[in-house]
Symmetry: C2
Subunit: 264 residues, 2 copies
């Protein structure tokens, strides 16, 4: 074990001080060497944003032989880039992101900094997993996730993941005894129905807070991430990075689009 | 035409003053009524980020009967949300994003604010298109894109798009006469190889600028977006929003994961 000790890179989008990332790092630390590179501030809903107009800074905040913690001023994806290309001298065996305070189900995968970090790891051909808990509270109870995380990480280290595939794991906010097991599922087709909450500025004018409800486009489906978590299962969606709508290519080729095709 | 005049919502990630969005709005304005809702500041590489910790503000900056321009302090995705759910009283017929100063090919779709806006439109079941030019300069020449944009928008208005599909269109930075036509292609499998450029702070310590080169994982492939643009074609990738790796679900089901499955 000592010689082939896996190197584990961990980040999140709630910031380095969040309970979720501390719990995640503690849960897997005996698997190998852990390097945490996490944002100084909460970065929820930052998606795959990267910092290109401002400089990045990072610093080591604590270090023992097998456990290092760095903090940076960037986004979760910046943290992965800094970890892989600046901070670590070896390529990690696995990248873990989370545990997010709040679920990342259905279309939330597009807004999520947690999943963006996992996707960034996957773009770099490293097995990567995003973990999220269906509870937004700062002091959420993560204890029920421990045996699942250990098993999922262990299996991923043993089995590897396919090229271009990472995992999106969501946990119900339930005690361990009430969780029914793991479901391998697909991303629910859904969206957010926005509402803007208008407030009056004391010095004139208005400002708006983004708010809204989630809408399922397929409320009957039982093979989806959202259904699984709502029904007491741990959901795992294998998540891939080819956004091409392959099924629509032939249709598009029939459109009258090649306006200058004759020049070929 | 007057009665069924299409309502066109336009945004971008380079900001309301960018040449690309002005060119886009001018190019399509005779198709219907145009409403521009764009960020006040450049928002490149903001991906699908949304503003949840700060309030949003927007204002009308110019208005004629069929052409309104709003500016907001948010991201491209915030602009779409504000446009659809706060500013416009009718659902637009189409959402256009761009023209981005710089390409959005291959894995760049994950970082791109331009494509995030199109994806947000698609999540809202509105035909949506992201346009990008393979030229980062502020004063880029967009004139060659005009006939293509008009044809693609016209065809999209006529044909519609499949559920959960939007379009990612990229233009070569070449004069109109050198462009060979349109290619319907897929997203290249590639990634960015990062480099952090280190600078010394005058008052001590270091800071880092994110930089890097794009790496193709399939340099021989000729059916990809990157190949098409590099070879003088306008690339169109039909882009879909289900990130599920359907091909990996069966594999994952064979893993030893259902640690508490017996409780079912």
């Amino acid at each position: 074990m000592t010689e082939n000790k896996p190197l584990i890179l961990i980040t999140n989008d709630d910031g380095v001080d969040a309970k979720g990332i501390k719990f995640l790092a503690e849960t897997v630390k005996d698997f190998g060497k852990v390097v945490v590179v996490a944002p100084a501030q909460p970065m929820s809903a930052q998606s795959h944003a990267i910092t290109v107009r401002d400089p990045l800074r990072y610093k080591l905040v604590s270090s023992t032989e097998n456990f290092e913690v760095y903090v940076c001023n960037g986004t979760p994806v910046d943290c992965i880039k800094l970890g892989l290309h600046q901070i670590m001298s070896n390529v990690p065996s696995i990248i873990l992101s989370g545990i997010n305070h709040g679920p990342n189900l259905s279309a939330s995968v597009f807004y999520s900094g947690t999943m963006a970090a996992a996707i960034e790891g996957c773009l770099n051909q490293i097995p990567s997993i995003g973990f999220s808990l269906d509870d937004f509270s700062h002091n959420a109870d993560f204890s029920q996730t421990r045996p699942y995380i250990r098993q999922i990480v262990q299996q991923t280290l043993e089995q590897g993941l396919a090229n271009n595939v990472c995992l999106n794991v969501n946990f119900p906010a339930k005690p361990e005894a009430s969780i029914k097991g793991v479901k391998i599922v697909r991303q629910l087709h859904g969206k957010w129905r926005e509402e803007f909450i208008q407030r009056e500025h004391p010095h004139g004018g208005h400002y708006y807070w983004l708010s809204g409800d989630f809408i399922s486009m397929e409320p009957e489906a039982t093979d989806t991430d959202t259904w699984a978590v709502e029904n007491g299962y741990v959901s795992i969606v294998p998540t891939q990075l080819d956004l091409t709508a392959h099924h629509f290519i032939q249709n598009l080729k029939t459109w009258n689009l090649n306006v200058y095709e004759e020049k070929k």
